[in-house]
Structures are given as C-alpha cells and as structure tokens.
C-alpha cells in the first residue's frame, strides 16, 4: 500500500498565490455553484488585497473558463486531459494537490456538492491542511465579521467588540448539531485554508462581459496517467426525471408529516399551490425518509438550503434541522394543526388549521387576489 500523505512543510507566508475556487463542471457544463463561489471569492480576495483564480479540471473545458472572469475571477487555471473528463477522486486529487503545491494559494473554496465533499477532504488530508465543511458564511476582515455576528448571533455586544481586529485568517462559519449551534472555524497554521461551501448560499454577482474578456487563462504543467487512477468510471447517468430546482426557485411550497393521512392528496395540493404562486414543491426530512418525495425535494440541514421570496410550510412541525434550511426565506407562511408547532416561531404568517381544508381555500384566495390586480 502506498502512503500518499505528504506533510505540508512550507511556511504559511509562502502561500501567497491568491484565493482559489475549484470550479466544478459536469459533462462540460459549469455547475451553478462555481459562479456563486467566484462571486464570493472576489469579495474575499478584495478583503485580503489578493487575486482570485478559478481552478478548472476536465476534458476540452477551456471554452467555459473565461465566463468565470465575468463574475470576478482574475484568471483561471485550466487543467485539461481526457483522463479528467469524468470526476475521479484519484485523478482530481492528484492534479489539484500538485498544482496547489506549485502555485501556493492562501485559501481554496470548493462547492459542497457530492463531488466537492468527496474531493475536499481527500485534498486537505494529502496537503496536511484544515478544511471546514459546508460553510454558509465567509469573512477575512474582522470588522465585517463583527457586523455579521451582530446580526446573526446572540453573542453579547461586549464580547463581539472585544474580538481583535488584526486576525487575517479566513473565518469559515458553518452550522453544527443540526443548526442548533454555529461555529466559526479558522486554519491558522496551515495553507491553503480550505472550505467547502453550501450551494445556493452565496449570491451570484452580476455578469460583466468586459471582465470575462480580460480573464487570464493559465495552463499549468501537470502529469496524470492511467496508472494514477485506482477507480474507473463505468458510466455517468443523469436522472431521467427532471430534478426539482429548489435552490433557484422564488417560491417553495413544502410538505411535512402532516400529509400522512392522504399523502397523494397532500402533495397534489402543494403542487397546485406552488403552481399558482409560480414555485416548486419541497419536503421535510420525514417526507423523504418515508419515500413520499424523492431526495432532491428535501429542505433542511441534510437537504438543501433555500431562501425564496415565499416559503410555505404545510404540515411541517419545524424541527431545527428543517428550519436550518429555510429560516432565511423572505416570507414564511405556515399551516399546521398544532398551534404550538415550532414552525410558528419563525413564520411571518401562521394559520392554525388542517392543511387539507386551508390549502384549497388559500389557492382560491391567491387566484382571486391575482385576478383582481
């Protein structure tokens, strides 16, 4: 057995190669989270007074690299090889670690997709550096971090004020224990500081064609052969059914355990309400675990984080793990039979009643209100 670990011996000052974003593509198409992370990375690079680079691996992918410049990348490192066409842990880890050792970025962001969460820990273990999983907020400047704490924490003002302002580490904030606690993690002794970032959380910047045109393409030398690959991708299958786009939706109508007495009827009502509101249907963990909805519908700590304009919770009690995925929605409407359901604590508008009676009335009322406009 080969031990591939190689300790990170370089001094952290040597890592001055800017902030990097691993830009995931699948079948030659950029994943939306790559644009989100480039947009966020731009802000961090500006805070640090540093440059921002994308890192793009694939086969014949150079053509999609410059678009990243339009969202803020100063340049993109493009590693192109037929062996990188499909994601493999072995191939991608080898190339990324080799390129990182050569160009020494200060920080590296990776989208927390199923691929990013496979790749990130493997790379961090090989590079001997720290990785924070599934981050929802990032800062470098302490004054900006303090502003974040003032609005997003229950810490005493005096405690926030006492944080020293000279810390230049990447401050990576993530939910823990199902969203009951938030933790801000730093990686003070090793570089690059690495974070996987939850898709859908960071906002995509406005696209700027001039910046895209000016984006520099860099082609690093790397070596990768068949012998480096211990896993073989036999096929890649796209789900036949169109996956629901919870993250991009303006309106999400979610159902919970409350539909149990008539699952099909409950889902149908949610679909009808989603249609009149121009949205999509989501579900709590209970509905996924019971097999009522497929996993792509799941909202919550272990599912997707959404912040739509309107979030309707039908028959969802509001366990903290669900709230973690939707509490930042602009307007939350909850319908639940139990008046002490925790969902009402965060709802902007609550109706205590049977969703099977209330939802049809709500559909009619919204249709009428829209017609009257």
């Amino acid at each position: 057995m080969k031990n591939m670990s190689n300790y990170n011996s370089a001094a952290i000052e040597e890592f001055n190669g800017g902030i990097w974003v691993f830009c995931e593509q699948r079948q030659g198409k950029m994943m939306p989270t790559s644009f989100e992370l480039i947009s966020e990375g731009r802000k961090l690079a500006d805070e640090l007074g540093s440059k921002l680079y994308g890192l793009l691996l694939g086969s014949n992918v150079e053509g999609i690299a410059k678009e990243l410049g339009g969202y803020g990348a100063d340049g993109v490192y493009v590693c192109d090889s037929p062996l990188l066409e499909n994601y493999t842990t072995d191939g991608y880890t080898k190339v990324i670690c080799d390129v990182i050792r050569e160009y020494k970025p200060e920080a590296m962001l990776i989208g927390a997709t199923n691929i990013g969460r496979d790749l990130g820990p493997r790379c961090a273990a090989r590079l001997h550096t720290g990785l924070c999983a599934d981050c929802t907020h990032l800062d470098i400047d302490v004054p900006k971090y303090k502003d974040f704490l003032r609005s997003a924490s229950t810490l005493a003002p005096a405690m926030i004020d006492s944080i020293k302002e000279d810390d230049r580490n990447l401050k990576m904030t993530r939910p823990a224990f199902g969203g009951h606690l938030m933790a801000t993690i730093i990686c003070p002794r090793f570089r690059p500081a690495m974070a996987t970032v939850r898709p859908g959380v960071m906002k995509k910047a406005a696209f700027d064609q001039a910046k895209a045109d000016a984006c520099q393409i860099i082609k690093p030398n790397f070596s990768l052969t068949e012998a480096d690959l211990d896993t073989q991708v036999v096929e890649v299958v796209k789900a036949a059914k169109k996956m629901v786009d919870l993250i991009g939706a303006d309106v999400v109508v979610s159902v919970g355990r409350g539909i149990s007495k008539d699952v099909e009827g409950g889902i149908k009502l949610a679909e009808e309400l989603a249609e009149v509101l121009g949205g999509v249907v989501g579900g709590s963990r209970a509905t996924i675990d019971s097999g009522w909805l497929s996993a792509d519908h799941q909202v919550g700590q272990t599912g997707k984080t959404v912040h739509p304009k309107i979030y309707v919770a039908l028959g969802i009690s509001g366990a903290i793990q669900h709230k973690a995925g939707m509490q930042d929605s602009e307007c939350i409407i909850a319908v639940n039979k139990n008046e002490s359901a925790p969902i009402f604590e965060i709802a902007d508008y609550g109706i205590c009643g049977d969703l099977f009676k209330v939802t049809p009335l709500l559909i009619e009322a919204i249709k009428a209100a829209k017609a009257a406009k």
Binding site: G120, C132, L181, D230, I346, Y349, G353
Partner: protein
C-alpha cells in the same frame, strides 16, 4: 477477508436539542445513538459477510461509555469491536481524527482483500470528511455516497449518487466506501445476537497501543494537532415573532392573500 466499519456514537439531534448558556451543547440532556449512516455501513458489511464469510470488525473513537453502542452493533451480527479511546485523542478535528482512526485500522491490518466502510457523515458534525481522510491516510482508493455495492472477486461495482443522477464506479480491494441511507435497511439486533454480544471480542486501543504508528504524533492528533480551530461558536437568534392569523377559513385565507398582494409578493 475482513470488513472494517467505522461507527460513531452521536447525540440525537433530530429531537429536542438543549444548548447551555455558554453556547455549547448540553449532551447530557440528549439521547446517545449510533450515527444513522454508520448503521447502513454496518448492514452493507453484514450483507457482504453473508455472501463471502468475511469477518466484520467495527471501530469507534470515543469515550469508554461507547462500549454499549459497540455491543449493540455486535448484537446485529458484527464479529469484533475496537474502541479507540484516550485523553490524547480529545479535541481532534476531522484531520486529526482520521490520523487516529487510520492508525487503529493499520493496527487491525488492511489486507489485499479487505474493505473499510464508513457512514457518509455523522449527524453531529455533518462534515462527511472523516471517511475520505481515512482513505487518504491509508492510501486506499475511496468511493463515497454508495447506494449500491456489488462484489465480484476483488472488484467492487458501486453506484455512487450525485445530486442529478449517479455514477457507476469499479474499484478493486482494498478500498474504502462511504455509505448512504439509500443503500439498505439496517437489520435489528437478534435475540441470539444480544445473548452473544458480550462474549464477542472487545478491545480498547489507547495512545500506548497506537503510539508506534507514524500517524500518531502529538503534532498531528488531538486539539493541538488539529489544523482547524474554533474561532467563535454561537447560537443563531430566533426570528422575530410573526403574525398568527385568526381562524382557518375562507376569510383568513383571503386576508393572507390580500397581505401578500399588498406587499407585491404575488
């Protein structure tokens, strides 16, 4: 052939979770359970045991009371359990934890036919990092998010889930697999299993057991050896109280639709 399964005892965060005034978790108030994804890994190992006669060994890092969980897992059919426990290991982040667990797995020994299995992620940290990091430390290929595992000789064919579909991956033993709930339905403890579990081999690996492994170094384990540190931890504020609409009839729904229209939300 051996299958080594990593399991973790976690507080049950799906129910009510109590937070201390200082912002730490009140673990004493919560039930301790076996991490759900890890039970899928145990089940996958037991299925392979039925097919191949493999020996199934579970490894857990945690405090001594985790023995109870390990006995329960043995009552499901696991042959042997190892608890990795020591003051020196406390405060480890995922990097340091993977160093320690990899050393423990080295001590058990990974042969050419062997498989290491983990749950995808634990419900207390939700990081999904320790499995891949153990694989790196052991120099094993990894396949994460496994929803189907087929074994033919030394080749495993694994359905690896993606958000928008799946990949089929072939990998040879030895390798590490992380398992998701779609993989199987974990069996319950059997009555015989419960009788037998206290007679099955149970060992504790402490710092002295593992200290000769090059992975175990004070600079790479425990709180001090962890690359990441907690800068601050805090509880998020509760959102301001919203408006409960009286009644659950047509007038209530008309009122709500009116508010949404007035706010230009519909």
């Amino acid at each position: 052939m051996k299958i080594i399964v990593c399991v973790k005892q976690v507080p049950d965060t799906s129910g009510k979770v109590a937070v201390n005034p200082d912002g730490t978790l009140n673990r004493a108030s919560m039930a301790a359970i076996t991490n759900p994804d890890d039970l899928n890994a145990v089940e996958a190992a037991l299925v392979l045991k039925e097919q191949t006669g493999a020996e199934v060994i579970v490894v857990s890092m945690g405090p001594p009371p985790a023995e109870g969980m390990l006995r329960e897992v043995m009552a499901r059919g696991v042959d042997r359990a190892v608890l990795v426990s020591g003051r020196e290991f406390g405060g480890s982040d995922t990097y340091a934890t993977s160093q320690i667990l990899a050393a423990a797995i080295n001590k058990i020994g990974v042969g050419p036919e062997d498989i290491v299995m983990c749950g995808r992620q634990a419900i207390d940290g939700d990081t999904a990092q320790v499995g891949p990091q153990i694989a790196e430390k052991l120099g094993l290929p990894q396949v994460s998010y496994a929803a189907e595992i087929k074994k033919d000789g030394d080749t495993l064919t694994i359905k690896r889930m993606l958000e928008d579909g799946y990949m089929t991956i072939k990998v040879k033993t030895p390798c590490l697999i992380t398992c998701i709930k779609e993989l199987n339905n974990p069996r319950y403890m059997s009555v015989n299993g419960i009788f037998e579990c206290y007679a099955k081999p149970y060992e504790i690996f402490d710092y002295n057991t593992l200290k000769d492994d090059p992975l175990i170094d004070p600079s790479t384990i425990g709180l001090k050896g962890s690359p990441t540190n907690i800068f601050k931890s805090f509880t998020p504020p509760q959102k301001g109280v919203g408006m409960m609409l009286e009644g659950a009839d047509k007038a209530t729904c008309d009122k709500l639709a009116g508010i949404l229209a007035a706010k230009h939300m519909i």
